[in-house]
Amino acid sequence: MPEPFKQLVSRTFVIKQEAVDTDQIIPARFLTTTTREGLGKAAFYDWRYDADGKPKPDEPLNMIDASEYRVLVAGDNFGCGSSREHAPWALTDYGFRAVISTTIADIFTSNALKNGLLPITVDKDTHARLLEEPGGRVSIDLEKSELTVGNNPPIKFHVEPFARRCLIEGVDPMGWLVDRVPTIETYERERAI
């Protein structure tokens, strides 16, 4: 279970590109692992390393202190493509705790929420402001569902209520579902399956 998520204040790391797919976030050749750990080194691997596996010195992802940049701001349609949960595993291990875009792919959103990585979708104006100020400060209050960009007034964002509760209170979704097995058994009996 990830740590409970209530508030976060951080600088933003900006990737302006649209449609950053999960093959960019973690290339498929890193998916032969059988654990969740240590995938931060594979995050955006082909952007960060050259053909010989040497870090590219001019790649911003290799230059920042990830502990200061916990919020990733990305172009429209972030996280599209494959259903690999390795994508949020890689991003959280790298150091991100939230992703902000105008749209974030459905499966990525679902996977991120289960791993303490908060996906936030914002309107185009807020997004444009965030894209223009890489390294700017944002404040996220999940209990109030509010995002504050710099000195602007806070804006509301929406997170699926159950996932939000899981993040804030540390509720374990699998445990919640397992507790409902008696209801599931009743359904199976009624359908004779």
Binding site: K16, Q17, E18, A19, D21, D23, Q24, P27, A28, R29, L31, T32, T33, T34, T35, R36, D46, A51, G75, D76, N77, C80, G81, S82, S83, R84, E85, T103, A105, D106, I107, S110, N111, K114, N115, E160, P161, F162, R165, P173, M174, L177, V178, R180, V181, T183, I184, Y187, E188, R191, I193
Partner: protein, 478 residues
């Protein structure tokens, strides 16, 4: 979200049958899963989670596993050993074998004639049936929607949820209908139709929706073509794509191993037909496409919606992302993508690795040669496809032309088994994603149909396959 008159869509009918506990403001619906498909890449951490909690797989009888993503496509050595890309890949396969044995899950392993790409083998075996909820830790699970099943990809945490409970927590998606009327022109395939549909919806346009594909051009598609179409629903951002079951669906499934037999089958088949969307049901979004206007399609960029008729000039970039895509592909705006030398041709994948796909490629390739300097890989989607193709002699056509005939698997579509496109090389591929580096670091991918892939292998450049198919048809008539 439902039609006010009580009429229901195909999706709603399937959804409602599977609601174990209704959605509220606070909690999502608990949705029952009839069939859970499992493969080696997205399952190990889910099994570990069950182990850590001391849980068993609740319904191993509704769980089916195969090996496809990290498996080599070269034949085994004389001693039975296989050329895995890494020790880690081999260990991942062994982990699934162990987990299946431990939990009593049927596995189509190396020794099974059922083994294949998960979205090819499950329909072949009759595991996929209309009205089911089908899930798998793979975004191309929408393939099974071709049967009127609600089928979608899930992450590994959710794989764990389904293993432990046979259920998922889900909010009900919105409804979109894509209607394609008209008759497809000769030489235009389901893949061309699919690329045209994605280009119309846009890469993220399907986010939050389940798509129903309807209209005369969809009804006219055979089941394998419908699978190609539903397969790529995720490339428009949609969780799932569905086609209402009809007589073609019933005839495809009749007699398959996991389907009911005799009178019971006829009774079940009647129920399948009742799943069709009611006439007065409404959708949250409707898109109409003229099927007769579609010509062979190929992509020019690095997202699957960046598709145009073959021969059209690459567009002037409308924004930074399009400019970056063109630069990555090495294409000049205003110049046709048919003018660049192709290095690799790949026929296979869960999108186009079925028998009809191999037949289409072979028809074009028959009596021709793969151009010198071009490497062509043909990878059947399953052991069954491989055996049928060999029985028809298709493998010989591929080999005679100079193509490589491989063992079944995902292969160069996801390029995690060692079958990769080298940096900077240009590939024409029948797979589903042209993302940067998808087929290998620095690989440049054009998505197209099996016939287009074969035609491009012959000429060494992206080629409209009708040049060859029309010659073949004229020769037959003469």
């Amino acid at each position: 979200m439902s039609s006010s008159n009580g009429a229901k869509t195909l999706f709603e009918k399937v959804w409602e049958r599977h609601v174990v506990q209704a959605e509220t403001g606070e909690t999502p619906a608990i949705l029952y899963v009839d069939l859970h498909l499992v493969h080696e890449v997205t399952s190990p951490q889910a099994f570990s989670e069950l182990d850590a909690r001391g849980l068993q797989v609740r319904r191993p009888d509704r769980t089916y596993a195969t090996l496809d993503h990290s498996t080599p496509t070269t034949p085994p050595a004389a001693d039975g050993s296989r050329a895995y890309v890494t020790k880690e890949a081999e260990s991942q396969v062994a982990t699934l074998e162990r987990n299946c044995a431990k939990h009593g899950i049927s596995l189509a392993g190396w020794d099974s004639d059922d083994r294949g790409v998960v979205h090819v083998m499950a329909p072949e075996m009759g595991l996929t049936q209309p009205g089911m909820v089908v899930v798998c830790g793979d975004s191309h699970t929408a393939t099974h929607g071709a049967f009127g099943a609600l089928a979608f990809g899930i992450g590994t945490s959710e794989v764990g949820h389904v293993l432990a409970t046979q259920c998922l927590m889900q909010r009900k998606p919105k409804r979109m209908r894509v209607t394609v009327d008209g008759v497809l022109q000769p030489g235009v395939s389901a893949k061309d139709l699919t690329l045209a549909v994605i280009a119309e919806i846009g890469f993220g346009g399907g986010s939050g929706y389940v798509i129903e594909y309807a209209g005369s051009a969809i009804r006219a598609l055979e089941m394998e073509g419908r699978m190609t179409l539903c397969n790529m629903s995720i490339e428009a951002g949609a969780r799932a794509g569905m086609v209402a079951p009809d007589e073609k669906t019933i005839e495809f499934l009749r007699g398959r191993r996991h389907v009911a037999k005799g009178d019971l089958f006829e009774e079940i088949a009647r129920d399948w037909l009742s799943l069709a969307t009611d006439d007065s049901a409404t959708f949250d979004k409707e898109i109409r496409i003229d099927g007769a206007a579609i010509t062979p399609m190929a992509t020019w960029g690095t997202t699957p919606d960046a598709a145009l008729p073959i021969g059209a000039p690459a567009p002037r970039p409308a924004n930074d992302s399009e400019a970056k895509a063109l630069a990555y592909m090495g294409f000049d705006a205003g110049r046709a993508t048919t003018e660049y030398p192709v290095d690799i041709v790949f026929v296979g994948s869960c999108t186009n690795g079925r028998l009809s796909d191999l037949r289409a490629a072979a028809e074009v390739l028959r009596g021709n040669k793969v151009k010198s300097g071009v490497r062509m890989l043909v990878v059947p989607g399953s052991e069954a496809v491989k055996q049928q193709a060999e029985a028809e002699g298709l493998h010989q056509i591929f080999k005679d032309a100079g193509a490589e005939w491989r063992e079944p698997g995902c292969s160069m579509c996801i390029a995690m088994n060692g079958d990769v496109v080298a940096p900077g090389k240009l590939a024409v591929s029948t797979s589903n994603r042209n993302f940067e580096g998808r087929q290998g670091k620095g690989a440049r991918t054009i998505l197209a149909s099996p016939a287009t892939a074969a035609a491009s292998a012959i000429t060494g450049a992206l080629t409209d396959p009708r040049v060859f198919t029309q010659i073949a048809q004229e020769a037959k008539r003469a």
